[in-house]
């Protein structure tokens, strides 16, 4: 597979702040690529430099191997983090407006079906709910039948059900063979959608790979969770206990069977026992020493 997008040593400096500090990566065609990191990590600045909205201070961006490729604007679909729509236009009129900007645009009916817009197609665009507006913005991003689609925190601020629905839409687009570039600060979103990830913090990439490879590389362990009080504190030193937060004792296990046997031997109460795999949240905490939501 060939890289549709190559980013080399990208920098962006605002006055005294290095928002992006030497980021490089490649995105393979047809994959979903995730930029993951906390708020203020430089995700949006990075994605907007690629989109051509913000000029980089230095670095190189190649689309299909060509720097400043004039085709990019016609072949890219873009959804910003927050965009207002025209005040007095209906949803269908907004779609018609944006459709008019491109040489080839998808039929409105197809977008309506793809993004589930039929319920509010004739509503004023300024009076939609958060989830509805994100779907309209996704439809606008798809209107030119783009090869590559940029989604900047598309589910931020949505309720859990709307988020799940939105993930389904993104998965459908992925199945059409489109390349997707996604920024998010939700680990579950990145795990659920992305084939490749870079984890960004303070303008730099601190880890990259597939979600699974990242977890295997950094962990290769399981997490055993017990209710607080189910294991007496004087026995903690027999195990690798990472946290005792939220009335929960979390034990890291390199060998699940032997750890469980050990717990039984200690006489621990296992009635509330849970075993889970490490998440990207755990990974982020491990790499940076601070949680994603800090």
């Amino acid at each position: 597979m060939s890289a549709i997008l190559e980013i080399r040593d990208l920098h962006k400096q605002y006055k005294n702040v290095n928002a992006v500090n030497g980021i490089s990566f490649e995105i393979e065609k047809g994959t979903c690529f995730g930029l993951l990191g906390p708020n203020g990590a430089g995700k949006t600045t990075t994605i907007e430099m690629i989109e051509g909205i913000t000029p980089p201070s230095s670095g190189e961006i190649r689309y299909k191997g060509v720097p400043n490729n004039p085709q990019f604007r016609h072949e890219a679909g873009i959804q910003f983090q927050s965009t207002a729509l025209m005040d007095y236009l209906k949803v269908i009129e907004v779609l018609e407006l944006f459709g008019g900007f491109y040489k080839n645009s998808l039929p409105i009916e197809k977008l309506v079906e793809q993004c589930a817009l039929s319920e509010f197609l004739h509503h004023p665009a300024s009076k939609l709910s958060g989830g509805q507006r994100q779907r309209v913005l996704l439809a606008i991003a798809l209107i030119n039948d783009p090869e590559i689609i940029f989604l900047d925190e598309p589910t931020t601020g949505l309720d859990p059900q709307s988020r799940r629905n939105f993930w389904n839409l993104i998965n459908n687009i992925k199945n059409l063979g489109k390349t997707i570039v996604l920024t998010t600060h939700y680990m579950d979103e990145a795990e659920s959608l992305c084939d490749q990830l870079v984890i960004v913090d303070k303008g730099k990439i601190i880890a990259e790979g597939t979600p699974q490879a990242l977890l295997n590389e950094h962990f290769g362990v399981s997490y055993i969770c017990l209710r607080d009080g189910d294991l007496s504190p004087d026995q903690f030193d027999q195990f690798e206990v990472t946290s005792t937060e939220k009335n929960e004792i979390t034990i890291i296990s390199k060998n699940l069977e032997s750890t469980l046997q050990q717990l039984i031997n200690c006489g621990a109460n296992l009635s509330a026992l849970q075993v889970r795999n490490p998440t990207l949240d755990d990974l982020f905490l491990k790499i940076t020493g601070h949680s994603l939501r800090d």
Partner: protein
């Protein structure tokens, strides 16, 4: 072209649906016209006004040195005849040829005649003075003010109509979204200008026709020339609005800046009163304002029947202003707040 058309149509729909602005643009100008028509309908001038064409003689000088008579000198016969025709002077005399002109429709005209022309000798035929008549209805204040009022409305509509929308769209991210599409700034700005221009032409034409039906304005020139002046005037004002809106993302500041341009024009562009006797500096400022050229040429067309050649200097200035403003606006335009 397809992109401009899409933006143009979308903007028209937005304007049409913005009921408050739509109603306002139809209500405000007739309201002002009505107020002016009512307030000045009986506003007669207390003075008699005598026009003197060319050099005066000792005999006439002696006669005209009377209280209550304002004397206005003219060198151009055409201009002087227009003045008597529209009751702006009551009598016109030309001492060098011993001719005078009266307007038979004006009562004052007949009266002033008796002050200057020896009645007995004139009636008996022994006077050398020759009487001429120039008929025409009085130019009311409302006739004089109407080009100013419509011009002022076009000015506000041009500056604020285009400025506000762009600033708001920059503030809420609509412009950023357009930036990410293949739309170029010049296409976006052209669509905004065309949409506003056509909407204003339609609104103003309706307002003009309705007001004309009720008040029956003096209209001596060609409607086509008036249309041309309106279009050129609006283009210059729209492009001025674009300069203001080229970078701002703060509606309050944009409002202040637009008023900074709008208010001097409202006061110094001869919308409400002539600056004939005003200090030089005021006239100089006035001549730098696009609205002045628009109003003066519209007034010349309507009241004096001026042709394109007569107002060519105004048209030239408006054209140049439009070009310069457009070049500035497109070169400093930014999709996003810098």
């Amino acid at each position: 072209m397809k992109r401009i058309l899409s933006l143009f149509l979308a903007r028209n729909k937005e304007y049409y649906r913005d009921r408050a602005s739509l109603i306002w643009s139809f209500v405000m100008p007739p309201l002002i016209i009505a107020v002016v028509a009512l307030a000045f309908s009986r506003g007669e001038q207390p003075l008699f006004r005598l026009g003197v064409l060319g050099e005066t003689t000792a005999e006439i000088s002696q006669k005209i040195d009377q209280k209550g008579v304002q004397v206005i000198r003219y060198d151009d016969q055409e201009e002087a005849l227009q003045k008597i025709k529209y009751h702006q002077i009551d009598l016109l005399i030309q001492p060098s040829t011993e001719q005078f002109w009266v307007n038979p429709i004006s009562q004052k005209s007949d009266f002033v005649k008796t002050l200057f022309i020896d009645h007995a000798s004139f009636e008996s035929g022994t006077s050398n003075w020759q009487e001429n008549t120039v008929s025409g209805n009085k130019v009311r204040y409302v006739d004089w003010a109407i080009p100013g009022i419509i011009g002022m409305n076009l000015m506000f509509s041009s500056l604020f109509g285009i400025g506000y929308v762009i600033v708001r769209y920059r503030k809420n991210g609509v412009l950023k979204r357009l930036q990410a599409s293949p739309v170029r700034p010049i296409e976006f700005l052209t669509a905004q200008i065309l949409s506003r221009l056509i909407i204003m032409i339609i609104v103003s034409a309706i307002v003009f026709m309705v007001a004309n039906f009720i008040l029956d304005f003096v209209m001596l020139g060609s409607y086509f020339n008036l249309f041309l002046v309106a279009v050129l005037g609006m283009l210059s004002l729209l492009s001025l609005g674009l300069i203001v809106a080229s970078r701002l993302a703060n509606e309050e500041f944009a409002n202040g800046l637009l008023n900074f341009f709008a208010f001097p024009m409202m006061l110094l562009s001869e919308v409400w009163f002539s600056l004939d006797g005003a200090p030089q500096w005021m006239s100089t400022i006035s001549s730098c304002l696009p609205l002045t050229h628009m109003v003066q040429s519209a007034r010349a067309i309507m009241l004096d029947g001026a042709g394109l050649a007569d107002i060519s200097h105004h048209l030239l200035v408006l054209g140049l202003m439009t070009m310069v403003f457009m070049i500035i606006a497109t070169s400093i335009f930014r999709w996003r707040e810098s």
